[in-house]
């Protein structure tokens, strides 16, 4: 009991610390600065794009990992989950070595299509998707694996094609997990710092997302940094509330 109280206090103390340093009267002023808006807008756009990518590319992978009959599944799963344990800065360096202008792929993209990923918002989306997608894949894979496959078999025996079964039976049954995985991935993408600053740089309006802006503002304008932190805190709370059925209402 005492240990549990201490644990709760450990989580509450930093929140209280942050909140008691907020200059509430100046908050709206700090948040209405163009720099804050740029960072917020960029963060929302990039994290939403990264989440869409995670859903589009993560769903087939999750299905394959859960149901597919593929060799070396354990290896593939470890590879996909690696970004969850890898320090994000290392992820950024790895992305650089694969996609910088001097790397084979990055050089080819630039020579052939004139696409440069480093220092671009697309690079931010890539870095965020790299660290966030595993959260989506693992959540959806778990749901698919735990699902009772008799419903799908019943549908198939009644003449539904594979795509129809997936669309009308499988997807609705795992929908809550898809949503939860997407929200988790989005929250992770929104908070991404290390891979982003390493791979995409720190350019105002183009790659300077909210966490980067908070870090930069800590030295110049602490109230600004705290105000931006509050925005991230509010967003995190919204995520928690939206997932309340899953985590908070557990009996």
């Amino acid at each position: 009991m005492a240990a549990a109280t201490l644990t709760v206090a450990f989580f509450v103390a930093p929140l209280v610390g942050l909140l008691q340093r907020v200059d509430w009267s100046g908050l709206s002023g700090e948040l209405s600065s163009p720099q804050a808006w740029d960072a917020l807008r960029l963060s929302l756009i990039c994290s939403a794009s990264a989440t869409v990518l995670a859903i589009l590319f993560g769903t087939p992978l999750a299905w394959l990992l859960a149901r597919g009959d593929l060799p070396g599944r354990a290896v593939i799963r470890s590879l996909v989950l690696l970004p969850m344990v890898l320090p994000p800065v290392v992820g950024g360096v790895a992305l650089l070595s694969a996609f910088s202008l001097r790397s084979p792929i990055g050089g080819w993209l630039n020579d052939t299509f004139g696409i440069q990923l480093t220092f671009s918002s697309a690079g931010v989306v890539m870095a965020e998707a790299f660290v966030a997608m595993p959260f989506f894949v693992i959540t959806v894979e778990g749901a698919l694996r735990g699902m009772d496959s008799r419903f799908e078999e019943a549908a198939a025996s009644l003449g539904a094609g594979r795509l129809t079964v997936f669309r009308r039976v499988t997807l609705p049954m795992v929908a809550p997990s898809v949503v939860a995985g997407a929200v988790l991935a989005w929250a992770r993408a929104l908070g991404e710092f290390g891979a982003t600053i390493t791979f995409a740089g720190n350019i105002a309006g183009r790659t300077r997302t909210l966490p980067l802006a908070v870090y930069l503002a800590l030295e110049t304008n602490q109230q600004g940094a705290i105000a931006l932190s509050i925005v991230l805190l509010v967003v995190s709370l919204v995520v928690l509330v939206s997932l309340r059925d899953r985590w908070l209402m557990r009996t």
Binding site: L81, T118, G142, G201, L216
Partner: protein, 272 residues
């Protein structure tokens, strides 16, 4: 329910792996020079550990100076916290433990003396100049400061970081304006340099000493003397230091002929 079990299992695996990663990494730079122990005469009475918070541009030279210092004082340990002077100043004002602070500019030292956390008077121990660095072979053809305005993405230090402030002064003197949309800001001079050596930035403005230690990873393009600025490095002992005798001895060693010789070997200018 297997969903939750899987999730929990993976969370445990993740936590275990993270613990291992954290456990393996050495969080502090420890220096314990034993190879120069022969020179340690006479044996010193100093004992204890000092934490030196120093500007990133001092990483290599201070590590070597600390090796000298610990060789002469075998019972002393020097631990380092290298980051931008402005980050370190923020940390110290917020109460981060440190015994010695060495900044790459006087503005951040003044922040600390104004806050009353520096004991005594800081001393200037080195000077530095700035230089443009490009990728090896200078593929963007950068010959002078004005070329920076059109060369693509330029890496500069954060505006409050000393190297960022010096770069801004140089660009202003030279009358060159680089659009902020083409500037990526490094959180310290190391990160600013890495955007050129590791990343895709066309050029950066860093210290002469950084360009030197980067070797053939970069090509240096000099900044004309009439617009260059002199970076001054002050050092001071913190009021809160619990090993102030060791801290003062370290500071004295940096200012000694022996310490100054190392600084000069790394390309720092000695204060006039």
């Amino acid at each position: 329910m297997r969903t939750k079990q899987t999730l929990i299992r993976w969370t445990l695996v993740t936590v275990a792996a993270l613990t291992m990663l954290v456990g393996c990494s050495d969080s502090a730079d420890k220096t314990s020079g034993s190879d120069d122990a022969a020179r340690a005469t006479p044996r010193s009475e100093l004992k204890g550990t000092v934490v030196v918070s120093a500007a990133t541009s001092l990483t290599e030279v201070f590590t070597e100076i600390a090796d000298q210092f610990t060789a002469a004082n075998p019972d002393v340990d020097v631990e380092f916290n290298f980051d931008s002077s402005s980050t370190l100043a923020t940390q110290i004002i917020e109460g981060a433990p440190a015994d010695v602070y060495a900044s790459a500019d006087e503005a951040n030292m003044t922040k600390l003396t104004d806050a009353g956390v520096i004991a005594g008077k800081p001393a200037i121990f080195a000077e530095n100049e700035l230089v443009i660095v490009t990728k090896p072979g200078n593929p963007s053809g950068i010959d002078n400061l004005s070329d920076l305005a059109t060369a693509g993405v330029i890496s500069l230090c954060g505006e409050e970081v000393p190297c960022g402030r010096y770069a801004a002064q140089i660009l202003e003197k030279a009358g060159v304006a680089i659009s902020e949309a083409n500037v990526t800001r490094g959180q310290n001079v190391g990160a600013t340099l890495a955007a050129v050596t590791e990343g895709d930035a066309a050029a950066a403005i860093v210290y002469v000493t950084d360009a030197r230690s980067a070797g053939d990873q970069v090509e240096a393009v000099p900044v004309p003397a009439e617009v260059n600025v002199t970076a001054t490095y002050p050092i001071g002992v913190l009021e809160s230091s619990e090993a102030s005798d060791v801290a003062e001895a370290f500071m004295a060693h940096v200012l000694s002929d022996e310490g100054q010789a190392v600084l000069s070997r790394y390309g720092f200018l000695l204060p006039r």
